[in-house]
Symmetry: C2
Subunit: 396 residues, 2 copies
């Protein structure tokens, strides 16, 4: 292999250039049996004890009732976690995107609801093909527009595919969904009559209600959402059509949704991990206690006087809800940039030296998980398993 | 394949479950020849005319001088773009992470500088192995601590690997790097004497200077950074050691860095794409004009009165510098959530209907690119190529 360094000072691309020794193509930050302190960074760390507590506390809310739990997989994007949620009693999962749904179906989760509208010829055709490919697995999707419903029905007919369909009702999120009960009933009539569709009911989610800080405000927002969902349901029933499922709610309002008498299915997502933002909600002693189970592990890569720089920044945890917080005392975040977090010492509570590992609590779990390839599942400071984040980056 | 739906209402995991028809495993939003309006969404769109203008305007800054350009690949993470930068005259690329450097080397870029410290036994060993595997490609790394330098030298010796090394100088970023010229000279003496290292010079980057809004402030911050770099260099020269390269600077200060008389190499990154945040800098008529070439394409998935919801949210563009901005008149961003952006109509300038495609300008290009798998390279409304983002998610 001839190589002329002089001439390559400008224009440094080699044509016949192969690594002499193989480097593993996939970087995996840990393997089962490793100590937490030996995990390479940045890495997403799951505390299995806390995670399992969160799973069982969510199921305890519905114990003895007919209420179904369909956790939202947009949070974790991980087939292994979906399977554990189902083993704990969930009926299946929610997804927000077709790409997520495909990843969950491929991970052998056989009941998936896309809690979102799918628009655009190519994506609708792919939706139909996915439904057909994984039949008899159950695949559902939301609609809020009759023209789109007609287009999807035509595509499903041409692909010989069938779909579960739900109407999205705007119950306070002010985003997608119909707010007028009569418009809901009209769309229901079309869906009910389309042979390619199985009309299941309503999707009624108020994300804004989840993060109301005070208990009374959060409870009131959940009640208002349930009342709007009930009004839409009643408009359908008044036309003599069935409306079997009312699905919605989230981690912040789970206890209220469960007791509403309206929802037949709840969709908590963040409860498995929790985060700094959810920790700001006032605690309701009547609601289940979920604890933070998800962390980002970073390494101290530079130390100058009272300033420690970590090797994880906003490409390793999302900052839309603020920076990640140190899971230890004596240091505060001064600055987050793309690949760095700068900590300043506030006390001597936690001595730090260069090369040390530091655990951070993400401020918002869902978009943080989307930045990683692996979840490192740990118990009492040791790695128990490494799970791929199957739907990581599947934003389509 | 026996399937009991009744018993699977709770516990919906199938063991013997295979898709009946194959769905393409990789979702690729477009192919060459497609019209922009037919690209599936969310997708990252590059305007090639503007991108090529940006490439040549950066090179024009150094025309007729000995100044080298080493663009930062943390921005684009794309081998194809790195190769085009080098064809335009760059000497190689910068990376921020070892995983990025591996992706660039694998993409046949044979001169890569990691403008960052690599700390931790496993990652340092991988660094040494990568250097050996791709030898004679040039791989450099930064250091700011003599203990870490000793550890890396021992690892390189045990792996029979050699590395280019640079000292990071803190020239105003207050993050990594040494600020005391005497400490720089002491570290240089060690690096100069280590047989596994080739001591090349100083890495001196002030990210904060790039985003000073006013021209006088930005110019002054760049000058201050160059002066600090010069002081560190002079401390090394005073010990009789060479200090060949002073590398640093960025898109916002490129013209000032080039004229500083201190830098021998500049590292602009964002100039290829630009973004909303850089657009807020006051324009200096003496500096090169870079224009926005990067967009996120989204689909209008729901339309209710004056409210249009797009199918791209903060998993499709970063919001650390604020929301993405519509690239069209008459609509403003009301809210961004994980998978949605809600636009409100402010005038009749741009009529929107459900299913329409909408172009958004990211607020911060680097972390936005990191969320995508593909760059859709377009020219005059038509797809010319689809480039993989080779180092996407390589945050380690």
């Amino acid at each position: 292999m001839a190589l002329d360094w002089t001439s390559s000072e400008r224009g440094a691309v080699l044509k016949e250039f192969r690594p002499r020794r193989t480097i593993p193509a996939d970087w995996i930050p840990a393997q089962a049996g490793d100590l937490l302190k030996d995990v390479d960074t940045p890495a997403l760390i799951l505390d299995l004890d806390k995670f399992e507590d969160n799973l069982s506390r969510a199921m305890a809310v519905v114990a003895g009732s007919n209420l179904r739990v369909r956790p939202h997989a947009k949070t974790h994007k991980c087939g292994e976690i979906a399977r554990r949620q189902i083993e704990a009693g969930a009926v299946g999962v929610c997804c927000q995107k077709l790409g997520e749904a495909e990843a969950m179906l491929a991970a052998k989760v056989n009941d998936v609801l896309i809690t979102n509208e799918i628009v655009g010829e190519s994506k609708m055709r792919r939706l139909a093909r996915v439904a057909l490919a994984y039949n008899p697995a159950r695949l559902g999707v939301c609609l809020d527009n009759i023209d789109i419903a007609r287009q999807l029905a035509a595509i499903c007919a041409s692909e010989q595919a069938e779909l579960d369909v739900y109407i999205e009702v705007d119950v306070g999120q002010n985003r997608c969904g119909l707010s007028d009960p009569q418009a809901v009933a009209e769309l229901a009539a079309f869906l009910h009559g389309a042979t390619v569709f199985h009309f299941r009911g309503l999707h009624a989610y108020s994300g804004l209600a989840q993060h109301r800080r005070g208990v009374p405000e959060r409870r009131a927002a959940a009640q208002a959402a349930a009342q709007r969902a009930a009004a839409a349901r009643d408009a359908i029933l008044a036309q003599g059509m069935p409306c079997e499922i009312i699905t919605g709610g989230g981690t912040g309002t789970l206890a209220y949704d469960a007791r509403s008498g309206v929802y037949t299915e709840v969709q908590p997502g963040s409860y498995v991990f929790m985060d700094v933002d959810y920790s700001k909600n006032e605690r309701d002693v009547e609601a289940p206690l979920f604890d933070v189970s998800l962390f980002v592990l970073a390494t101290v890569m530079s130390l100058q006087q009272d300033r420690a720089t970590l090797d994880a920044g906003l490409k390793a945890f999302s900052t839309d809800m603020g920076p990640a917080h140190p899971a230890f005392e004596g240091w505060r975040v001064r600055n987050v940039s793309d690949e760095h977090t700068v900590l300043m010492r506030t006390s001597d509570a936690t001595p730090i030296k260069i090369g040390d590992k530091a655990l951070l609590v993400p401020s918002h779990c869902d978009p943080t998980v989307n930045l990683h390839e692996w979840i490192i599942a740990t118990r009492k400071g040791r790695v128990e398993a490494v799970w791929p984040i199957d739907a990581r980056g599947k934003i389509y």
